[in-house]
């Protein structure tokens, strides 16, 4: 029977898994959600990012975090005292739009 609907069961890992950013590279084809607790100032590197991709980064830690050149914050402010949901939209080659939000008190 032909497949007429896409279900979550057939999605690749890049759409429905979470992984820890162990070093500093965020591989856009590895997971949908990436987590990291900063223990030092960190520079993130994006790999395999293609236009239209949207990834969620959950990042904690009161350190400076650097995103690749071409990144711009479109909403929110990073807080070092709570977890930050950082959503990255790849709007084009080296064009990353970043929204930052935190849990509401």
């Amino acid at each position: 029977m032909a497949l007429t609907k896409i279900t979550s069961g057939i999605l690749a890992d890049e759409f429905n898994t979470s992984s820890v950013i162990s070093a500093s590279t965020v591989n856009f084809t590895a997971s949908q959600v990436f987590t990291k607790t900063l223990s030092a100032n960190t520079t993130l590197v994006f790999s395999n990012a293609s236009t239209g991709m949207v990834k969620d980064l959950v990042i904690t830690g009161d350190y400076t975090i650097t995103f690749p050149a071409g990144s711009k914050v479109v909403a929110g402010t990073y807080s070092g005292t709570v977890s930050n949901l950082i959503q990255v939209v790849v709007a084009g080659p080296a064009d990353y739009w970043i929204s930052i939000s935190q849990p509401q008190a």
């Binding site: 100032n41 520079t43 009161d62 350190y63 400076t64 975090i65 650097t66 995103f67 690749p68 050149a69 990144s71 711009k72 914050v73 402010t77 990073y78 070092g80 970043i98 930052i100």
Partner: protein
Amino acid sequence: MKAIEINGNIKTFRRLPNVWEDENGLHLNFRKVADPTEFGFYDVVTPQYDKISERLSAMYFDGDKFTYDVVAIDLEGAHDVLAEDGEVIETKPNYDIAELKQGKISAIKTEAGKLLSPTDWYVTRLAERAVEIPTEIADERLDIVTKSDTFETEINALETVEEVLRYTHAFYPAPALDEVEPISE
């Protein structure tokens, strides 16, 4: 205060920005950087200077900080006023001492008027109904007028622009801290 030089322009910040973008990327939580100088941010050091006779030059970077030179103001100097064709029309003093004096005296008279105004009604009552002004009120009003006249005389006796600019007055000086009675319960 911090400052950074970008393309020849110095940009100042009351403190480090929390988001900073440069050729290396977008830095969030930027105030947590260990060494802002690695990004070109240096302290702004303002030298002590006399605000009446000196001014600060434009800010510049001197290797490990942003700072200013202290430049003496030519208080007694003059400058040429030029016509459109560059011809000198007149030479005017940088500071008009007569104008400065008049400004100070005018301010003193205004202040004296404000101090007198709460008791003006005593004078009106005396004029309209011949009710005597209480002695302490009359003395207070005389004191204000006398002081105002004294200040005006002092100002008119000043000879240099700097003396006029430095001149201060107080009708009722605030007591020094050691003269203030402590509040007792």
